[in-house]
Subunit: 347 residues, 2 copies
DNA sequence: CTGTTAGCGCGTTCAC
DNA sequence: GTGAACGCGCTAACAG
């Protein structure tokens, strides 16, 4: 690691777009008042009375200078920042997850909390905390004990908004995986499939295990007295073998796929083998990706309900930070309606 | 808004994880040295000689206390932060874009810059700058004049890493759209299609216009003396009409689709109409989404090369911040190899 | 009432 | 190796 500080190559680091940011002192000077007054006006401090005249003068000066209070100074003084840091594992940066974070971020913004996302991998948490000091960290996956300790020491509140089933910690909201499998299986049973299979392909680079979804599907199968098997495949050939067996089986088989991409792969194999879909075999995916609409036949799928989840995690964050919020619409994290079947053909 | 501060529900808001963060003064006390010494040791300040003994003492004390320097105090003092804020419009939070940001973030991290992402929509930039004061802002889309002015006033460097063709500003790196269309058209011509169509569907919620990609496709068509038409559809019926016309046309028609989802939709319609793909009509998508592998037939597509783009934008950022970097691998932004054809069947 | 002075919070850095 | 000042916004104590 060539640890050259200021390389000889760059002679004058000045000049850059680095114009000095106007400070409250600048505003005070321009308005002909003290810095304290500026602060009182700009923060609408109710413990102080300021004449409309000076008030106007200060606001005008601030506007003309394009004054922005320094987050550093403010946070340093008050000890609390308005920032929420969302931690996303790099394998989870999907569109769905991003929409989830966006929704949660909107809710937090309504309560004065700004949120930014860090896609983990580029730098360890310890280093990250060297650059930002958020009021809270919202993690989509469990944090290690070291990381938790780090946050505790830094006085940063820890909130968990899991996108998969992980062991609960304090302040945990989880996108319930059981519901997903349950919805898939129920849909298939309702459509008259009298035998179920839960299928997962090779997991490519993410640690979400089918266990939760499978358990949900199994529960639904049990409720209806329908048998359910669990199958996985690692290669195209293994998948072909599965499909082959299904082809020559009796009755109507319902397939719950781990996700839409898996479902599309299975569906492709079913086509290749000339299996009658949805007549002999029915299949349901999970996620409702755009491509699901255009397969042959179009894929039935289950869409996660991100709205309630996002709201719940936002509430958990607000609560942890002692920010008051209207809890009439508070969502019970245990009863979140996380999945709904999207009706399409294919079954 | 019921502005109750400490809700009756939570009796003792104390005890929270809010233990006071240890400061450099704490470390100094514990090590029996001055705060200045602590700073020198922890920053490996080369202008100061510290005896190994004190050095050890300081490091030990810091470790025992779990000391983390406050980013606020550091930034306040030094005037510069190590943070890069990436701005993503909410319509662009796709997997591809996230991978792009992740790659750029990794490069920046190698040079001591930490990056966080803000998905625009939840809060305006002005408010955001109230919570974080980054050294640079990296935006994926053009900023408004107000926003630019805001950043300039705040002394924040502005870098553009466009994911589509937008008018260039200073420090702009663009994921060249022409290359994409060019690659699609070239592939089709190479496969013997003697007539081309560029197709775009209804754009759903994003402002990326096909113009650049279309122009690239046209250029490729011209190079080979092949005619190219531009077609758009808004509804399924309009698409059906297009496909119908193609069905009864002469020769071999090559279709360049705006993106993979569009391609899959067109492909579905081609199937419905019984068009011979890839015999009579060939089609190429753009993006290489996972689902492309499982359509009927599997979709040929073009994958954007994010690596060079990410590297280029990271370099642009480092340059703007006067951070020295090894520019032997510097990428010329004008000549970025942004697209490569992924071989599949279908054509 | 209206506004000012002074000092804090924390890490960095200059001068001794 | 240390003392002290600094960067910037907030607010308790105080004066007009």
């Amino acid at each position: 690691m060539p640890d050259e500080r200021t390389a000889p190559g760059s002679p004058a680091p000045a000049g850059e777009g680095a114009r000095r940011r106007p400070t409250s002192a600048d505003v005070a000077r321009r308005a002909g008042v003290s810095r304290a007054t500026v602060s009182f006006v700009l923060n609408d401090n109710p413990t102080q009375r300021i004449s409309p005249a000076t008030r106007e003068a200060v606001l005008a000066a601030a506007a003309e200078l394009g004054y922005l209070p320094s987050p550093h100074a403010a946070a340093l003084r008050s000890g609390r920042s308005k920032l929420v840091l969302m931690l996303v594992p790099h394998w989870a940066s999907s569109e769905t997850v991003m929409r989830y974070l966006e929704l949660a971020g909107s809710h937090l913004a309504e309560h004065g909390l700004l949120s930014v996302t860090h896609i983990e991998r580029s730098a360890p948490l310890r280093e990250l905390l060297t650059a930002v000091h958020p009021a809270a960290v919202l993690s989509l996956v469990p944090l290690s004990d070291e990381e938790s300790a780090l946050l505790a020491q830094a006085g940063v509140v820890e909130v968990h908004g899991y996108i998969a089933d992980f062991p609960d910690r304090t302040r945990t909201v989880t996108l319930n995986q059981e519901h997903m499998g349950h919805a898939q299986a129920t849909h298939l049973v309702d459509r008259g499939y009298d035998r179920l299979v839960y299928v997962a392909g090779p997991e490519i680079g993410h640690p979400i295990r089918p266990a939760g979804r499978l358990a949900g599907a199994r529960a639904a199968a049990d409720e209806h007295g329908v048998p359910l098997e669990h199958r996985t495949y690692r290669t195209e050939d293994e998948l072909a073998a599965l499909v082959d067996a299904w082809h020559s089986s009796e009755g109507r088989l319902g397939v719950c796929a781990f996700d839409d991409v898996t479902a599309l792969e299975v569906l492709a194999s079913l086509r290749t083998h000339g299996v009658d879909v949805p007549g002999h075999v029915g299949i349901v995916g999970m996620d409702d990706i755009p491509a699901a609409r255009f397969s042959e036949p179009p894929l039935t799928t289950v869409r996660p309900q991100l709205g309630p989840q996002a709201l719940a995690v936002a509430h958990a964050t607000l609560e942890a930070l002692d920010v008051p919020f209207d809890d009439t619409e508070k969502v019970a994290s245990g009863e979140m309606p996380v999945a709904a079947v999207v009706q399409r053909s294919s079954t």
